[in-house]
């Protein structure tokens, strides 16, 4: 039964919230409310504004903020022929170093110029305030020319920007690594595939594709099938804490199992059908496969057995194993 497992494709995201502080707060508030601020430092005006004098590190306070722009001059630029998913436009545009009128340094920003032919060093650009403004540098963009922007509609009661939100994320796409692919294909056929180290004969389940003790890589030739039956080597009872997104409400057991024929344990095995008061190290358990096996969260990392493959683990009826015999495998 040949089953095609898809490539891995997921997006890992982290929502960052940053306090803005005494300079970035007014700067981002300004962008939201329709003005651009720089910092007067000595006889120069720096934009973007700074909390410190770059020449000596001395503090530059909010009393030094001055308004600059809305027009400016392009001092450097590049044309982005194929924007990434992180760029402010999904069509070709320019990133430019823009020296705003009244400033002595350049700010990096995007120019929606339509065509590379509209771009040149020394050209004039002017800010545009986006309709949706959240107190971020992405609240604005620039366009060629000198036509002053429409003053944006400002909510006079809005609080100054004290927090900047930025969701960062990276899309990861890759094939399953060969050892993972064979392991997961095995599970689809209700087989548990491990790898026997060519260095010391120990069987790793699931394998990471190498033996880290002896520093040898393993290949398909090292694959071995192990039993869907084994011995509990350690366990914990998890009492679900009610965090955002938590779906568990009742305590349950997670255990490590040493499968027959294996020398490493599978971790995080989910136990729901055996009462905690009966559960112990040394207990013999057997897998009850699901009728139809599928999973949609396959990855290259797994250290356990994919939860989508088993209905539950049942006691085999065999006598318990002396815990002393599995104490080297408790994790």
């Amino acid at each position: 039964m040949a089953t095609q497992l898809p490539d891995i494709d997921f997006t890992l995201e982290y929502p960052y919230t940053r306090t803005t502080g005494p300079i970035m707060g007014p700067f981002l508030t300004g962008l939201r409310d329709g003005r651009i601020l720089g910092s007067r430092v000595g006889d120069r005006v720096l934009c973007p504004p700074v909390e410190y004098d770059p020449s000596d590190g001395s503090t530059v306070g909010p009393e030094n903020l001055v308004e600059v722009g809305p027009g400016g001059t392009v001092e450097g630029w590049t044309w982005v022929a194929e924007p990434t998913s992180k760029h402010p436009f999904d069509r070709p545009f320019a990133f430019a170093q823009i020296r705003l009128d009244g400033a002595d340094t350049t700010m990096l920003h995007a120019v929606d110029a339509g065509s590379i032919d509209a771009m040149s060093t020394g050209m004039r650009v002017v800010v545009r305030f986006n309709d949706e403004r959240l107190g971020s540098v992405t609240d604005v963009h620039f366009v060629p020319g000198d036509e002053a922007p429409e003053p944006p509609t400002v909510d006079a009661d809005a609080e100054p920007v004290g927090i900047m939100e930025h969701v960062i994320g990276v899309r990861i796409r890759e094939p399953l690594q060969p050892h993972r692919k064979r392991f997961l294909e095995g599970l689809l056929q209700k087989k548990i595939i491990g790898q026997r180290s060519p260095a010391d004969g120990k069987v790793h389940v699931p394998s990471r594709g190498y033996d880290a003790i002896n520093r040898v890589a393993m290949s398909a030739e090292d694959d071995v099938e192990v039993e869907g039956k084994g011995t509990v080597t350690s366990f914990t009872e998890i009492t679900p804490i009610q965090y955002h997104g938590q779906t568990e409400t009742e305590p349950y057991i997670r255990c490590s199992l040493l499968l027959d024929g294996a020398d490493t344990t599978i971790g995080g095995v989910d136990i729901r059908h055996i009462p905690i008061e009966d559960f112990k190290v040394g207990m013999r358990l057997e897998i009850v496969w699901r009728d139809t096996i599928s999973f949609d969260d396959e990855d290259n990392r797994g250290y356990g057995l994919n939860e989508g493959v088993y209905e539950r683990w049942e006691r085999t009826g065999e006598p318990d194993v002396d815990p002393e015999l599995v104490k080297e495998h408790n994790f």
Binding site: T78, I168, E174
Partner: protein, 358 residues
């Protein structure tokens, strides 16, 4: 006059690297393991003989939080290692190991740089190195700032598009003799200039091809180095400097931090036979040659350099390896390895390597 090592001097006694793979099928650990086994095998020592191990990598590339922890498997999981990690190119790991050995209580250290960048679009990761308030939210990535830097160089009259294409043509020709390179071969400046712009004035071939790969170095204090190696390569200078993360506060047509690091490392104290430069955009070679004070007597990027294979997070360490190999083989007596980090050469590390006196 050849370098005369003193007791506290430190030498490279072994180097290893994988090829720059467009995509490596297996785990990153296996690439590290290959390098570690080569190093230990060549030196004839066991892993417990290594007093300190350190790696440079970036978890974002493979989308695995704490990937750097599983990477330690590549050094061998038992007995436990005394280890450190930098979220930087392996060249910065070398800097920490070099400092660590100067404490004098241990005498051998292993340095690894590794990365699997094929699962992601690196441009969608490395904009996060920029200022988090005024640049990163724009997604302004290193390739975009490189485009701005290349134009600044052209606008200042310091280079032409043909000069930039010339760097690519020369690099690819040099890479023909490098078995680890991803791309190589003869290509004319005219044909390169006929290609469309990507981040104008840069073209796709001006940007290094990202790769999966690993590199590793074994270093030792003088007495142990002389025991373990017939031809140790001495680290006679090492320095790294950083410039403002606000591009508007920098002169993008110069690399002030490279000048400072080169002075700190003593680049000008002797002839430079070979230099390997961490250029991920072709125009950077023009800036770095100037900042390092290199003239035509120096062979620059004889391996082809990163423009012919960029195993992200191992690329800088690989530059140092390429120089060390040439000194080990007797092809050069003194050379400069350079590593960069951040957009538009924001941070630069310079190491001077020399053969030892008889």
């Amino acid at each position: 006059m050849a370098f005369e090592p003193q007791e506290n001097d430190i030498a490279i006694i072994g180097v290893a690297q994988t090829a720059a793979h467009a995509r490596f099928d297996g785990p990153e650990v296996v690439m590290i393991m290959d390098c570690v086994n080569t190093l230990l095998g060549d030196a004839g020592i066991e892993r417990p003989d290594v007093g300190f191990t350190i790696a440079g990598s970036c978890d974002y590339l493979s989308g695995m939080p704490f990937a750097f922890v599983s990477n330690v498997d590549g050094m061998g999981a038992w007995p436990p290692v005394y280890e450190s990690h930098v979220e930087m190119d392996g060249a910065w790991a070398l800097f920490e190991a070099w400092l660590r050995l100067q404490m004098g209580d241990i005498d051998v250290a292993m340095v690894v740089g590794s990365g699997k960048s094929s699962p992601c679009n690196a441009r969608e990761v490395f904009h996060l190195q920029a200022d988090p308030y005024v640049v990163a939210p724009l997604g302004l990535d290193p390739d975009a700032l490189a485009g701005i830097q290349a134009r600044a160089l052209i606008d200042a009259g310091k280079a032409s598009e043909a000069d930039i294409a010339g760097v690519v043509a020369r690099s690819r020709a040099a890479a023909a003799s490098n078995p680890n390179a991803q791309v190589s071969g003869s290509v004319s400046v005219d044909s390169l200039l006929a290609e469309p712009y990507d981040m104008a004035p840069l073209r796709a071939h001006d940007v290094s091809p990202k790769a999966d790969g690993a590199a590793a170095i074994l270093i030792a204090r003088r007495d142990r180095a002389l025991e373990l190696s017939d031809n140790p390569v001495w680290i006679t200078g090492l320095d790294h400097r950083i410039e403002s993360h606000h591009a508007g506060l920098r002169d993008l047509t110069d690399s002030v931090s490279t000048r400072l690091a080169a002075a700190g490392a003593g680049v000008a104290d002797g002839p430079v036979d070979v230099a390997e430069l961490h250029i991920t955009h072709a125009h950077e070679e023009i800036i770095l040659r100037d900042a390092l004070g290199l003239d035509d007597s120096t062979a620059v990027n004889p391996s082809g350099g990163p423009l012919c294979g960029d195993p992200v997070m191992a690329t800088g360490l690989t530059r140092i390896i390429e120089v060390a190999r040439r000194i080990q083989s007797g092809e050069a007596s003194r050379g400069v390895g350079h590593a960069a980090s951040g957009a538009a050469l924001q941070q630069n590390l310079v190491v001077v390597l020399e053969e030892g006196g008889a």
